[in-house]
Amino acid sequence: MHFLNYIWLIPVLPVLGAAIQLLLGRRLSNKAVSAVSVGLPGLSFLWALGCFFQLLSLPAQANHTFTKVLYSWLPAGAFHLADGSLAHLNVYVGFQLDPLSSVMMLVVTGVGFLIHVYSIGYMGHEGGYYRFFGYLNLFMFSMLVLVLADNYLMMFVGWEGVGLSSYFLIGFYFHRKSASDAGKKAFVVNRIGDAAFLLGMMLMAVTFGTLDFLPITEAARGGRFAVGDGVITAICILLFIGAAGKSAQIPLYVWLPDAMEGPTPVSALIHAATMVTAGVYMVARSNALYVLAPTALALVGAIGAATAIWAASIGLVQNDIKRVLAYSTVSQLGYMFLACGVGAFGAGIFHLMTHAFFKALLFLGAGSVIHALSGEQDLRKMGALWRKIPTTAWTMLAATLAISGAPLLSGFFSKDEILWQAFASPYGNKLLWSVGVVTAGLTAFYMFRLFFLTFAGNSRVPHEVEQHIHESPSSMTVPLICLGLGAVGAGYVGWPKVLGGSNWFGRFLDPVFENPALRPALQHTWNLEFGLMLLSVGVALVGFFGAYRWYAKQPGIAERVAAAAGAGYTLLLNKYYIDELYDALFVNRAKDLGSALAAFDLGVVDGGVNGVGWSTRMSAELSRLWDTWVIDGLVNVLAFVVKVLSYPARVLQTGLLQSYAWFITLGVFIFMVYYLIYF
């Protein structure tokens, strides 16, 4: 069977599931819903595996790249490029599988399938079961279109699609206002990034005459553009704003913590493992452009590092288990951008891959905890769950160790590669590296804080809830164990040279990230790299012991420290008041402007129209008065004059025979008198 030729089945299978659920789901039993909506993504995972192995067996000179064009989608006619030549913009529905997209594809289908399985148990008792799976399938479709597209516009289709499914799923509990608010916030903040992405695409279209990845990469590597080219820099910055929206980087990260309003499997799949990494994928996909734009790279690196430490600092003090993980996600995404920013795209994708395992696991584990505690999410009301839900606890421990960078677990390999690249790459510097190292310490601290507050110490669970604590069903624990294996072992594919490995993962991705500029700079001493590795492990240990001392050994210290920190603690607890700031600066100002313009529209613009109407009516009224009193008045006056003047004559015309006889008599008499006198 030729899997690659039918690569379009990979996204189409889940969308079939979505269509079935959203059109007919209400009439299906929960069993049928799960069979369809978990089965189809499962099939798509198998198909993806088939494609992956066929891709590996492609001849080497093809650079492990396969494209499949289905049909012409947007044949938008002729236009002029920036250099004045005439081109035709024609965007196809096409799929591209290369090492980069195959990694993404496997992560999305693999982790996605596990989370679908988990959802069977987690959502089993919720209303709208079919709706949930329909949206989840829709998400899988969009994400797969995003990573498998062979051009930017198709990628944008997936990009918007994942935003939409995320909107649906965050707002899944739509009768809760906070949930639908969060969904709307996510969508609108993302749209700000999308607007920049759109502009970036248009600039690419007028620069390259196409939106397809391969020709653009070829043109960028072909020497047509100098390093530091202004247009390329503009494209890269616009794309990065888009990426910052989707991947929750400063200043557009504010939607992600609120997105935790969604059901927990959604947080795991969309807001940790896959969708939020789309920005990293997009920057990595555009690596040929970014290496031409050192300014943009520096921006990516700086924003990434700043986001990493900023979000980690907020995560230190949050009390909602999912919010800690949300800020942790923002922080880890910062790491990935930091890697991209120093030109180490492969390291960024490596961390993306390992992060998908341990972060999905952390969220699903948190979901399992919440499930066990009948919906409780507050860390202050947990504790001592270690023995009560052991599978969850063990897998969570694996994930916590992995994210903290414990040696020989997956996160250790990927994080250290990023830190090393930040230190040694020609695009990197000591500042970025030291921010990364400090963040690693903070990460270990807040993750173990979470772990100890949940599983260790004394139970702070209310009594009535404590009665019902139970381990989750196997549909939930099996995915936890699978992801746990990933969290431990996923890093081995990138076992670094410094520890005697060969970094197979990095070499596999190399054809996509062909960047000669980076090669010589990475000549380094073994001692230095190994020393830095030890240093970052040491920093993580400091974080671990801090958390251990404060939250496991002597609980109570934490409150005293918090009280001593005073304003600083409040500032962190309230997330630096960024939401309030944005509301004051943008949201409320937009609403005010809307109200003001609505009033303007009613008063001035429509007022003008009504004014014209009014003045027409008034001038009509004046005309009427003029007509009645002046024009008609003149006529009437004339008539009156005639009437007055004619009065004597009219008085005579009475029509009475007697008076006429009388007048005749009078006339005769006057005549006779006249005659008698003068003649």
């Binding site: 049909y71 006619g77 502009l199 007028v206 937009a590 609403k591 609505a598």
Partner: protein, 534 residues
């Protein structure tokens, strides 16, 4: 068959008119028969327009205008009965026959008073709109343009809401004021043509071949502009629209938004640009038109954000969406124009459907106040789903229709100036904000109002009024190629007329890409020298 083929336009045009006649013989008491007849006539008209879909691309591929019918009408003044369509009018005619039928179908239960007159007015309106898109004779065009005003006036004024008289008169007078200026423009061209050639003709194709003095072009452009801009409506001529929409019955709003507004943009594309190419490409004029378009996009969206009445919100969103259409037109390049026409069709689909959706809830609750609603997805899931799809198409989500139009327009605008695109993109962000907020406030949340808890979900007929539009929205979103194909030729012809060098080889030294492409240097000459022919 041959006869039907040769006279297809007349057949489509006169089915509604002929269909009016039997209405006079149906008793006014017999509402059911009247409804059936009205729906059947509109459906037959839609069916009659379907062959166009199959014949269009095969018909006379080398001709710009197809299915031409031409007869003398008033020989003494040179007016002809002259019909013909190109890809642009073809799409708008299909939009008219589909929306016309759906609008009439949606009126089945909502119109209970003066039923016979209502259907008669709708049939007359349909003929007027179709005539506007088919006419290639200026006189005939003007007749249809005015004919369609009258039934719309009555539809708003008789079957409208509480302030219907105000709205109807405002609509009529506002539009009439523009049309009269447009008529002046038409007559100017008519007499000037006679002065130059000794012939009296309203034939648009002949007038297009003529070279008009620059000065005259400017005057006529502004005369046309006022007429068309009021119809579109462009900022600041838009205030008749919210009133007319709020007061009009549902079907009236659907047609008003779906088709009537397109006559303005169609006028720009069909008449202003090709007849007056030098005026239309004058950088200063382009600047005015583009700035007005961008103001409409952002202003309409911001005003929408704060509306309390659903219909008013959608009316203002139309101002914003039509801003994209005019922006695309005055990008004056193939992408802008193609995108504009596609967006006109899209707006007809999406906003037409949105008005149907508001009408469905109005019929049940007799209110359009957003705060009266809320949580409706609990009681009306089918309604909520359809509303969701239509809303997504309106905010330009990829794989639905709106995205195709918006992206192509923005691309066209970007090719002229990145600033235009950057401003217009703000409208996309705001568009998502006001539509999602509307949806959240009406559909999500708990359903607390007892009046809303007993609402019935949609009936089969009601679903059927929306389904064709949803299918069409997906079609354009997934496979817009046929639409681009029919637009390719007419749009390129217009661009070539505006800028004969556009399709020439690239080597010719061109202005830097960021300056307007369609502005030959000769246009900068002072206007007093314009009397001489070019």
């Amino acid at each position: 068959m041959q006869f039907a083929h040769d006279h297809i336009l007349s057949i489509i045009l006169f089915i509604p008119v002929v269909g009016m006649i039997p209405l006079f013989f149906i008793s006014g008491e017999n509402k059911q028969a009247t409804r059936w007849w009205g729906n059947v006539v509109m459906f037959v008209d839609f069916l009659a327009s379907l062959p166009l879909v199959f014949w269009f691309s095969r018909e006379a591929p080398d001709q710009q205008f197809k299915f031409i019918e031409r007869h003398n009408w008033i020989p003494s003044i040179g007016a002809q009965y002259f019909l013909g369509i190109d890809g642009i009018s073809f799409l708008l005619i299909m939009l008219t026959t589909v929306l016309g039928f759906l609008a009439v179908l949606s009126s089945w239960t909502s119109i209970q008073e003066r039923v016979k007159e209502y259907y008669a007015m709708f049939l007359l309106l349909q003929a007027g709109m179709l005539g506007v898109f088919m006419s290639l004779d200026f006189f005939l065009f003007y007749v249809f343009w005015e004919v369609m005003l009258v039934p719309m006036y009555f539809i708003i004024g008789v079957w409208g809401g509480p302030r219907k008289l105000y709205a109807a008169i405002k609509f009529f007078l506002f539009t009439l004021a523009g049309s009269v200026l447009m008529l002046l423009g038409i007559l100017t061209l008519y007499f000037r043509y006679h002065a130059d050639t000794g012939l009296y003709t309203f034939n648009v194709l002949e007038l297009m071949k003529h070279t008009w003095p620059l000065n005259l072009q400017y005057w006529v452009f502004w005369a046309f502009m006022v007429g068309f801009a009021i119809k579109v409506p462009m900022f600041p001529f838009h205030t008749w629209l919210p009133d007319a929409h709020v007061e009009a019955p549902t079907a009236g709003s659907v047609i008003l938004a779906g088709v009537l507004l397109k006559m303005g943009t169609y006028g720009f594309i069909r008449f202003s640009l090709p007849l007056l190419p030098q005026a239309s490409t004058n950088p200063r004029i382009v600047k005015v038109m583009v700035v007005l378009s961008i103001i409409a996009i952002i202003y309409g969206a911001l005003v929408s954000l704060m509306q309390r009445d659903m219909k008013k919100l959608i009316a203002y969103s139309s101002v914003s969406h039509l801003g994209f259409c005019t922006l695309g037109i005055f990008a004056l390049n193939p992408h802008g124009l193609q995108g504009s026409v596609i967006q006109q069709v899209n707006h007809g689909i999406s906003t037409g459907a949105l008005f149907l959706i508001v009408g469905l809830i109005y019929e049940r609750r007799h209110t359009r106040e957003i705060k009266e609603l809320g949580g409706l997805s609990n009681v009306m899931p089918v309604y909520a789903t359809l509303f969701m799809i239509v809303m997504l198409s309106s905010i330009g989500l990829p794989l639905l229709n709106g995205f195709i139009g918006e992206f192509t327009i923005l691309q066209g605008a970007y090719e002229v100036s990145w600033r235009w695109a950057a401003w217009a993109v703000a409208g996309i962000v705001l568009g998502a904000a006001y539509m999602l907020w509307l949806y959240q406030r009406t559909m999500f949340g708990p359903c607390e109002n007892p009046k809303n808890q007993v609402l019935k979900d949609l009936s089969f007929r009601e679903i059927m009024t929306l389904v064709p539009l949803v299918i069409w929205a997906f079609w354009i979103g997934l496979y817009p190629k046929p639409f681009f194909n029919v637009l390719d030729k007419p749009v390129n012809a217009i661009v070539e007329r505006l800028n004969p060098d556009f399709f020439k080889a690239a080597q010719s030294a061109r202005a830097p890409a960021m300056s307007p492409p369609a502005a030959p240097a000769s246009l900068e000459m002072p206007s007093h020298a314009a009397g001489a022919s070019h």
